[in-house]
């Protein structure tokens, strides 16, 4: 028999993250992610097609506004390809951030009745997001074939930027999920952040379009560095500026602060949700 002893003490350290326990619940990540995925397009007429329509619509709008009307300098890359390479990471980020931000509120019935590591709820959204990521990637590949565009050798760096995207999305998502429990205001802030972020992040235009003076302000957005990195590894061209590291340091800070804040709120989560 496995002798696992559980001790709960009101005076326990707030820094105990208990990752071992999180690992024991690893199946729950999958099951929750599968549930979200199955339920997402239930009772819709177009079903799974929606997963393609949404990014396509955004791409069309961006192409018309920034590609045709504003005529952004893409360094010779066809505009739809340029925009889509930026959108890949952003759509993932936006989806995971908004989904995990609302996740605890959405699971409040469970939270109030059953114990399991609460972190599983926002974390499982990162898995669901991979479906959307895969779809935008598929788009990307299709467009590349269409424009006969040869991918850059920088592609080998893509996994690194992917990990940064996951971390950025989850850390912001975890922060928001914990904050939303206390302050429902954040439910209204998130859609605004998604909308604002689409234009504040160098997705539809290159980061270099901003004057040097303000580059640091732009990179206070944790996704700025990630989006540039994605574009550089897929399309090649000029490497991103060193301001990129500012974004990455912010991502790391966000990850740790999110985990500790979440831990703090977790203690009373069932009481205040």
């Amino acid at each position: 028999m496995n002798q696992n002893k559980l001790i709960i003490d009101a005076n326990s350290s707030p820094f105990a993250l208990n990752l071992k326990e999180l690992f024991r619940y690893r199946d729950l990540f999958w099951v929750l992610a599968m549930r979200d995925f199955k339920v997402r397009y239930a009772q819709t007429f177009l079903g799974f097609l929606w997963a393609f329509i949404q990014p396509l619509a955004t791409l069309i709008v961006l192409t018309f506004v920034f590609g045709k009307a504003v005529k952004v300098d893409t360094g010779g890359v066809p505009y739809p390809l340029f925009a889509l390479s930026g959108m890949v990471a952003w759509t993932y980020f936006a989806f995971v951030m908004s989904q995990s931000g609302n996740s605890i509120i959405g699971a409040q019935e469970m939270v109030k009745k059953i114990y399991f590591p609460r972190l599983v709820i926002p974390l499982s959204k990162a898995i669901v997001g991979f479906v959307d990521l895969g779809i935008t990637f598929l788009f990307m590949v299709t467009l590349m074939i269409f424009y006969e565009f040869v991918p850059s050798v920088n592609m080998i760096y893509l996994p690194f930027f992917l990990i940064m995207a996951v971390m950025a999305a989850l850390s912001v998502g975890i922060w928001l999920s914990a904050l939303t429990i206390r302050y429902r205001d954040f439910q209204h802030v998130v859609p605004f952040m998604v909308q604002f972020g689409l234009y504040a992040t160098p997705i539809a235009y290159p980061a270099s379009a901003f004057p040097e003076k303000y580059q640091w302000v732009m990179h206070l957005n944790p996704m700025a560095g990630v989006v540039e990195g994605f574009r550089w590894s897929i399309l090649g061209g000029n490497p991103p500026s060193n301001y990129m590291y500012l974004s990455f340091v912010l991502v790391i800070l966000l990850v740790f602060s999110a985990l500790f804040y979440f831990k703090k709120v977790e203690k009373v989560m069932a009481d205040i949700v």
Binding site: N4, K5, I8, Q43, K113, M269, A270
Partner: protein, 414 residues
């Protein structure tokens, strides 16, 4: 290795009443600013200790009933033990795997099929997927919903949902099982099955069971030991029969202690002019000999002015659907009542004489000869084990009511 399953030491849980619940940003922010500048303490919030200084030990294999009136801290204690929330003070230790059933089926998703929900619920409760897979057939068989296992759960009746959920939970094989009022739902047959399963878990498999219920008969049947909670303290801890007696004594003092809101209950027909508002029972717990005083308030749902000839019916129906009592103001000549919104209507029944068990209280109402509202299957009345005849084998007595009676031997004296 110790033989202690659960050890609780000085456990306390404080709640703050009033504003602090998921408050809005502005309030919390302005409080912080105020504190910063005025250097005064935060606005004093009312504190409430749901549990205070609770200590006890439960040995492995013991079945312990936690009892107490509503608000005594039972649910808080279970929430702490099952880690849903964390204590404000004190500590506890649990040896071995725990699973808690504090209202089953909470992880169910309506859009998913029964099969998918079994996996979802199982993993939420801490099982691995292979484990669920291995026990899947057994779980489905126990639940009795085989035919609908690939139907989305939203098409299930509430009874079916509970069956399936309990089946998942019952097959968890934890070393310690924490159960709260699961049996409040489901039909009599399934309740029996659940109790049987719990009995098996505790007596035959030697697992530890912590059971909270208002059904004293079930508690007495299942547990050897009881912990009586009162206002957040352990009031008494000992042999189950004594604890149940103390609990029943507690119940006798209350006045209209149990009030239930009826407006939110399910209706078959939409309301017309009047619906039932609240029902209050004069006691928390009744025994066979107790008087039954039930008070009803009504709520007007239209602005019709004349609501004449009010007729109210109160039915008491047992778990088999037998109408035990049917009371109506019309039967005893209380006719021609015009409803006023402030009115309360009371039924008084001398010595209910009902046998111990659960009953369904059904309500029916008409005004001006038109049926306004009726409710059934949603208001529960529990009669506690009283053994009113003091007969040693009380369970042998058949029948649905237990009237007072006498017996005499008449010896003709020629």
């Amino acid at each position: 290795m110790s033989d202690i399953a659960i050890k609780v030491e000085g456990l306390g849980k404080k709640y703050q009443i009033g504003d602090v619940k998921s408050g809005d940003f502005r309030n919390s922010f302005s409080n912080k600013i105020n504190r910063l500048f005025r250097q005064t303490a935060a606005t004093p919030k009312e504190e409430f200790w749901a549990l205070k200084d609770v200590s006890f030990e439960i040995k492995k294999g013991e079945a312990v009933g936690i009892i107490g009136r509503n608000g005594a801290g039972k649910s808080t204690l279970l929430k702490l033990l099952s880690r849903i929330t964390e204590p404000t003070l004190g500590r506890f230790e649990i040896n071995g795997r725990v699973s808690s059933l504090l209202e089953v089926g909470t992880g169910f998703h309506p859009e998913l099929t029964g099969r998918e929900n079994v996996f979802l619920n199982g993993t939420i409760l801490g099982m691995r997927r292979q484990e669920v897979n291995a026990k899947f057939d057994e779980i489905v068989a126990f639940s009795g919903v085989e035919k609908f296992i690939d139907t989305p759960v939203k098409h299930y009746s509430s009874g079916m949902k509970v069956r399936l959920a309990f089946a998942v939970a019952a097959h968890l094989e934890p070393e310690t099982l924490i159960v709260d009022e699961v049996l409040a739902v489901g039909d009599a047959e399934f309740q029996e099955k659940c109790l049987g399963k719990m009995d098996e878990v505790s007596k035959q498999e030697g697992r530890t069971v912590v059971f909270v219920s208002h059904n004293m008969a079930a508690v007495k049947n299942l547990c050897q030991r009881g912990v009586l909670l009162k206002d957040g303290f352990v009031s008494k801890d000992g042999e189950i029969d004594n604890i149940v007696k103390d609990y029943i004594k507690l119940g006798v003092k209350n006045d209209f202690s149990q009030i239930l809101d009826l407006t939110s209950l399910q209706r078959v027909n939409p309301p017309i002019d009047l619906i039932f508002g609240q029902i209050s029972f004069d006691k928390q717990v009744y025994t066979t000999k107790d008087d039954l005083n039930i008070s009803l308030s009504l709520k007007q749902t239209s602005n019709k002015t004349s609501l004449r000839d009010l007729k109210l019916s109160l039915h008491i129906v047992d778990v088999y659907g037998n109408q035990i009592y049917h009371l109506n103001n019309g039967f005893i000549g209380k006719v021609g009542i015009e409803h006023q919104n402030k009115n309360l209507y009371e039924f008084h029944l001398k010595q209910n004489r009902l046998k111990a068990g659960d009953y369904d209280v059904q309500l029916w109402m008409s005004v001006n000869g038109i049926v306004q509202d009726f409710i059934f299957g949603q208001i529960k009345l529990t009669i506690q084990e009283g053994n009113i005849y003091n007969y040693s084998r009380g369970k042998m007595i058949l029948g649905v009511v237990q009237p007072e009676f006498s017996f005499e031997v008449i010896e003709p004296s020629i």
